[in-house]
Symmetry: C2
Subunit: 635 residues, 2 copies
C-alpha cells in the first residue's frame, strides 16, 4: 500500500510504500535529500523535520497530526510511512553541495616530484604507427600488421589484444592513410590492449584525470599528458556526506543493495561533476580522456565500485579488495572515454587505503633507506605510517573527523568564512583571527581549531584537562545545553549575527582526536624501538585546512615536540600521489611495491594502545617531559 508524502516548503511529493523511511522518501524529491551526518542512526539530529499533517510511525507506534494542529518534530531517519503525510523541512536541515574555493586545498605538486616530459608513461599510451602495406607476398591480417607495430612501439613482448569495437573499424582505419594510424594502447603488465585506432597522425589531445576520493572532499586534477602539466584542478564535498559524516556512518547507511547503489551514485555524481568542470574549463571533452588514476580510502573505493563495505567495519575488518585491477571508465561509471583505463592506488587494509599509499609515494620512503620518516594523514580518519625504503608500517586510529570540523559545534570545512588561525590574550580582550576569503566568520575549520586550542591552552584559558579554567574571562563564558562554553566571536562580529562558541564537549572531542593520533605514533615508534627523536622528518597530509600552525599543533600535543624544521606539510598528498601514478610507470611500480611492503598494524588489538591513548588525553600530554618547549612557553 502506498501513500503520498509531501514536503514543505517546496510542496514536492512522492508516493511511498508503508514502512519506507521518511528520510528515504525525502531523497526521492530533494536532490540533496536530508543531512544524515550519523548515517541515519538517529544520533546527530540533523535530519529533524516537522510532521504538519497526517500519519507517521516511530518504533511501531503511530502518531497523527490533524490539519491545523501543532506540528510534531520527528527525526526523519527514525520514522516510517504509515499514511499520507505532510512534512515541513526545517531550514538548515540539509547540506547542499557547496563548491569549495577552486584549488584552495589542492597543493601544487612539488616540481622535483614530477616526471620529466620524456618520462611520461600513462597506462594507456598513444602511438603513431605505420603498418606495413598489405601485399600478396605477406599473408597476414590487418590485426597482425598492427600487432607487430604495437609491440615494437610499446617495446614490450606481451600478447596484443583488441576488442570488437576496434576490430570493426580497423580495416578502414588502416587503409585511409596508407597504414598510418594513431592508436591508444593499454599496457596492464600482462597484455597490450588496443583501445582505439584512428587513421592518420592528426594531433591527439591526451587528457588524464587524477582523482582523490576522500570521505569529506573529492579533488581532481586535469592533466595534459603530452607535457605532464596540470591544466585545471577542482574540489567539492563528497555528496555522500548527507548520508553520513564519517566512514562508519557511511558503511552503516549502505547496508542494503539499494542504499549501496545510492552511495555509489552520490560519489559518482561528485566525481563526474568535477571531471565535467575541469574538462569544461580546459575546453576538452570526455572522449579525450583515456587515463584516470583514483586514490581513495578503502571504504570510498568500495562505495565507488558498488562493493559491499560491511566487512570493513566488522572484525576481522576485511575488505573485498585492496588493490582493484585496472577497469574501464564505462564499468566504473566515470565520465571519460568508455574504454579509458581507470587505475586505483592499492590499499593495504580496511583502514589504510590507497589514499595513504598514494600519499607515501610523495615522500622519501620510496628511495631513502637510511632516514626514518613519520607520515601522518589527518583527515576524516587518522592514518600513520613510519619507515623508509627498507621497512614501512602503517596503522589507522579512529580519530574521528573533528579536525575536518565535524562533530564540533562551531566546526566547518576549510571553505569561505572559516576561521583558519586564532590569536588572543589571556583576558580575550584582543581576539584576532584569519578568515578564509575574508569577511565575517561563519565557523572554524581544522587548522583554525588547532590554532585555537593551542592559543587557549598557552594563554591559560583552558587547563591541561581541557576544562575552561577558573581564570578564563567571565565575559566570554556561557552555557550551551548545560555545558560550559567560550564565546570566541561575538554575534556582532560574526556572519549572520550568530556568535561562534566552543563548548567543553567540543574541546574534549578535539583532545580525543589529537590523543588518538599521538598515541598511534607513540606506540608504532615503540614497536620499532625508536622515539620521536629518531625521526628525521614528519610529513603531514590531510585536508584540515590550507596551513597548519606547527607550533600550536605541538602545544596541544597533536604533533611531537621536535625541531620545527623537521615538519613538512604535504597538503592533499593522496591527489599528488595519484597524479604521479597517472603520469609515470616508474611511479606506478613504486606505488605497487610500496603497498606490498607495508606492514599493517592493528592498534585496536594492542592493549598498550589504550594506555598510550589515555596518557595523551591531556594538553599536551600527561608526561610533560615529552613537550619541553611547551612547558617553557605556557603563560
Amino acid at each position: 500500500m502506498t501513500h503520498t508524502i509531501t514536503f514543505l516548503p517546496s510542496k514536492k511529493f512522492a508516493t511511498a510504500a508503508r514502512g519506507t523511511r521518511i528520510s528515504d522518501v525525502a531523497s526521492q524529491v530533494r536532490e540533496t535529500g536530508l543531512y544524515l551526518e550519523c548515517g541515519g542512526k538517529g544520533t546527530c539530529h540533523k535530519c529533524l523535520v516537522e510532521l504538519v499533517e497526517g500519519d507517521v510511525e516511530i518504533k511501531e507506534r503511530k502518531f497523527t497530526v490533524a490539519a491545523g494542529a501543532k506540528p510534531l518534530k520527528v527525526l526523519s531517519c527514525q520514522c516510517v510511512v504509515s499514511g499520507d503525510a505532510v512534512f515541513s523541512i526545517l531550514s538548515g536541515t540539509s547540506v547542499g553541495p557547496v563548491s569549495l574555493a577552486l584549488g584552495k586545498d589542492i597543493a601544487a605538486i612539488a616540481p622535483e616530484l614530477m616526471p620529466s616530459p620524456d618520462d611520461i608513461s600513462p597506462v594507456v599510451k598513444t602511438y603513431r604507427l605505420r603498418a606495413d602495406q598489405p601485399s600478396l607476398e605477406r599473408h597476414s591480417s590487418d590485426f597482425q600488421r598492427l600487432e607487430v607495430q604495437v609491440r615494437k612501439a610499446a617495446a614490450a613482448d606481451r600478447p596484443v589484444r583488441c576488442g570488437l569495437p576496434v576490430l570493426r573499424i580497423l580495416a578502414d582505419a588502416m587503409r585511409e592513410r596508407s597504414g598510418l594510424v594513431t592508436v591508444r594502447v593499454l599496457d596492464d603488465g600482462a597484455c597490450l590492449t588496443v583501445v582505439s585506432v584512428e587513421p592518420g597522425d592528426t594531433p591527439v589531445r591526451d587528457i588524464g584525470i587524477a582523482c582523490d576520493i576522500g570521505t569529506t572532499t573529492v579533488s581532481v586534477h586535469c592533466l595534459d599528458l603530452a607535457s605532464g602539466k596540470v591544466l585545471a584542478s577542482k574540489s567539492d564535498y563528497n555528496s555522500q556526506i548527507r548520508r553520513g559524516a564519517d566512514i562508519i556512518s557511511r558503511i552503516d547507511y549502505a547496508k542494503t543493495q539499494k542504499r549501496l547503489q545510492e552511495m555509489r551514485s552520490l560519489v559518482l555524481d561528485t566525481v563526474n561533476g568535477l571531471i565535467d568542470a575541469v574538462l569544461d574549463e580546459t575546453n576538452n571533452s570526455a572522449g579525450f580522456v583515456y587515463n584516470l588514476a583514483v586514490a581513495g580510502n578503502t571504504t570510498m573505493v568500495h562505495l565507488l565500485l558498488g562493493l559491499p563495505p560491511q566487512n570493513i567495519r566488522e572484525s576481522p575488518y576485511m575488505p573485498v579488495v585492496n588493490a582493484p585491477c585496472i577497469m574501464t571508465a564505462e564499468e566504473v561509471g566515470l565520465h571519460a572515454n568508455p574504454r579509458a583505463a581507470v587505475t586505483f592506488a592499492p590499499g593495504v587494509g580496511s583502514y589504510v587505503g590507497g589514499d595513504i599509499t598514494s600519499g607515501l609515494l610523495t615522500t622519501p620512503v620510496v628511495r631513502d633507506d637510511k632516514n626514518v620518516v613519520l607520515f601522518m594523514d589527518i583527515g576524516t580518519n587518522g592514518e600513520i605510517a613510519i619507515g623508509n625504503a627498507e621497512f614501512l608500517m602503517a596503522a589507522a586510529c579512529s580519530a574521528g573527523p573533528a579536525f575536518e570540523g565535524s562533530g564540533i559545534s562551531c566546526g566547518m570545512r576549510a571553505a569561505a568564512g572559516a576561521i583558519e588561525s586564532f590569536e588572543a590574550d589571556a583576558a580575550m580582550e584582543h581576539v584576532r583571527f584569519g578568515v578564509i576569503g575574508g569577511g565575517k566568520p561563519k565557523g572554524i575549520c581544522g587548522s583554525g581549531l588547532i590554532s585555537l586550542l593551542g592559543e587557549l591552552y598557552t594563554q591559560g584559558i583552558i587547563d591541561r584537562g581541557g576544562k575552561i579554567a577558573e581564570a578564563a574571562p567571565s565575559s566570554r563564558i556561557t552555557k550551551i545545553g548545560g555545558t560550559k562554553a567560550l564565546v570566541l566571536v561575538k554575534s556582532s562580529e560574526a556572519h549572520d549575527g550568530r556568535e561562534i562558541v566552543l563548548t567543553e564537549a567540543d574541546i574534549n572531542n578535539l583532545i580525543r582526536t589529537k590523543g588518538a593520533i599521538y598515541a598511534a605514533c607513540d606506540l608504532m615508534l615503540k614497536n620499532i624501538g625508536l622515539t620521536f627523536d629518531g625521526i628525521s622528518r614528519v610529513y603531514i597530509a590531510g585536508g584540515f585546512g590550507r596551513f597548519i600552525d606547527v607550533n600550536k599543533a605541538v602545544r596541544i600535543g597533536l604533533l611531537p615536540d621536535i625541531p620545527r624544521g623537521k615538519f613538512t606539510y604535504l597538503g592533499n598528498s593522496s591527489l599528488t600521489g595519484a597524479t604521479l601514478a597517472l603520469l609515470s610507470k616508474t611511479r606506478r611500480e613504486q606505488l605497487d611495491a610500496l603497498a606490498k611492503r607495508i606492514t599493517y598494524i592493528d592498534l585496536s588489538s594492542d592493549n598498550r594502545y589504550m594506555d598510550a591513548y589515555v596518557a595523551a588525553l591531556f594538553l599536551p600530554h600527561t608526561d610533560m617531559g615529552r613537550f619541553p618547549s611547551v612547558a617553557k612557553d605556557r603563560v
Copy 2:
C-alpha cells in the same frame, strides 16, 4: 517519401522509402526474406517475384501494372520501390531454414582423438576452493584470499583478475560456507580471470559448446565437460544462405553497415537456434555454458563478429583478423552465460580459415614428422593442405559450391530426399539410387553427384569432355532451355512428380569444380617436388554428404588414382577439431602452433595454376597416364 509494398499470398506489407530494393523490403515482412543465392547480383534468378499491381523501378526505368492487368515478372534484387505496389511471391522462390537430419552429417569423433577425462582442460575451468578464514592476524582482502587459492588451483603464476560483477558478490560468497567456494576461472595464457563465484561446492554442470560455422551448414556439439562426452549434436543451414550461396556473394551482400548487421544477425540466429536446441534436448540452460569453441572460415568469422569482410575478396585478400582473441559470449552475442569464453580456431588467411586449421588438428600433421599427408576440404569452397609435423602448406581454390548441390539444377544438400549414390547401366535401363531417409528423391546431394558423374563416365553415357555421348540412350535425353540434358529420374519415380535432370551445363560446372581441386593438389605437390605417390594418406573433409564413393571420385578425377586404402573420410573435421580445442589445452596449443606454421600459398598468383586447371578439365584428366585404373575400367 515512403510507399506501401504488399506481398501475396500472405498479404503482409511494409512501408519503404523510394529507392529501397524490393528484396530488402521482403526481408522486413518475411522471416526468411527471398533467396538471393547470388547475393543480389541478379544472376541466379531465385528471387523472382510478380508485380501484380502498382509501380516499380528497374535500372532507372519505371514500370507500372494496372489493377487486373497481366502481372510483370521481376527480379526483386534488381528493382526498387517507386510507388505503392503489390507483389506475388512465387512458390519455391525462397528457402526457409530446413532442419537437417539430426547428426546426419556430424561424424562421431574417433575415440583415439578424444582427451581422457583427466586431460580435460577448457579455457574456463571450474575449481572448488577453500579460502583461508578471515582473521585479524592476516591482513588481506577477500580477493587476496581467493587469489592465492586460484593461482594454486590453476597451477599458474599469472596475475589473477576479477571483474566488478564477481567482486560485488565475493564477500557474501566467501562467507556463506566458511570460505568454501566454486569458482570458474578463465586462463587466457596471460591472466587468470575469475568469471564466476558461488558459495559451497554444490555440483556444477559444466556444459561446453563446439561450433562449426560453415558457409552452408552450421553444426554444434553440446558436451559435458566433466566427462568430455558429446551429449547432443545438431546441424542446420546457415540462415545467411538466403543472402548468397557462396562466400563471394555473402561478402558482396554485406557491403553496407546495415547489411553486415543483418548477416551477423542471421548467423547468430542459426547458431543460437542450434545452441538452444541442444541445451533443450539435454535439459541444460545457457547459464551452465562457460566454454564455447568456434571454427569457421575467415568470412564466416568476420560476419559472425560484424567485421567488414570486403578486403577478403579484394586483392591482396587481407582479412581484418585471422586469430580473434578470446571474447565473451555477451560480446559475440551467443546464447551462453554472458561471461562465457568464446575461443576461435585461428585462420591463416582470407581463404584458409579456422575451419581448415581445426580440421588439420584431427590429422597426423600435429605429430607425424615423416609421412606427408594431403588434406582436402571440399565444401562451399575447396581448401587443400599438404604436409606433416615438419612442414605444412595450405591453399584455397575457388571450387564453388557445386558439390554442396548449389548451382546444379538438380542439386540439393545432404538432407532427406537427396540421392546420395547412383548406379546405372550404359542403356540406363536399370537405374538404382540411394535416397537419404528413403522414399522418392527430390534432388541429388554432393556425394550423389560424384557417384552419378563417375557412373555416367564409366558407362560411356558422357564423354571425357563432359558432353552427353552420342551413345547415350535417346529415351533419357531431353533439352532444358536449349541445353542438352539427361533425365536421371523419371517424373513417375520422383518426389512431387518432378523429373530429375542433369544438364550439360551442370556437368560442366561439376568438372570445373573437381578440376580446380585436383589442379590445386597437383600444383602444391609440384611446389614441394612430390607426386601423389609420395602421399601416405589423403584425408577428405567436407559436408557434401555422409559417404563419398572414393572409386567414383577417382573416376571423375576429383581424387588422385592412388591405392584406395590411403583415403580416409573425416566428415565434419572442423567441428571435430573445434571440439578437441574446446576440451583440451594441449589441443589448443597444437592448434595455435599449427596455424602459425602453415605457409599460405596463393594459387591465383601462380601462372602454372591455370595450366594445371585446364589440364584437369577432362574426365578424369587430359593426361590419362595419371589415372591408370580409370583407363582400364571404362566400358
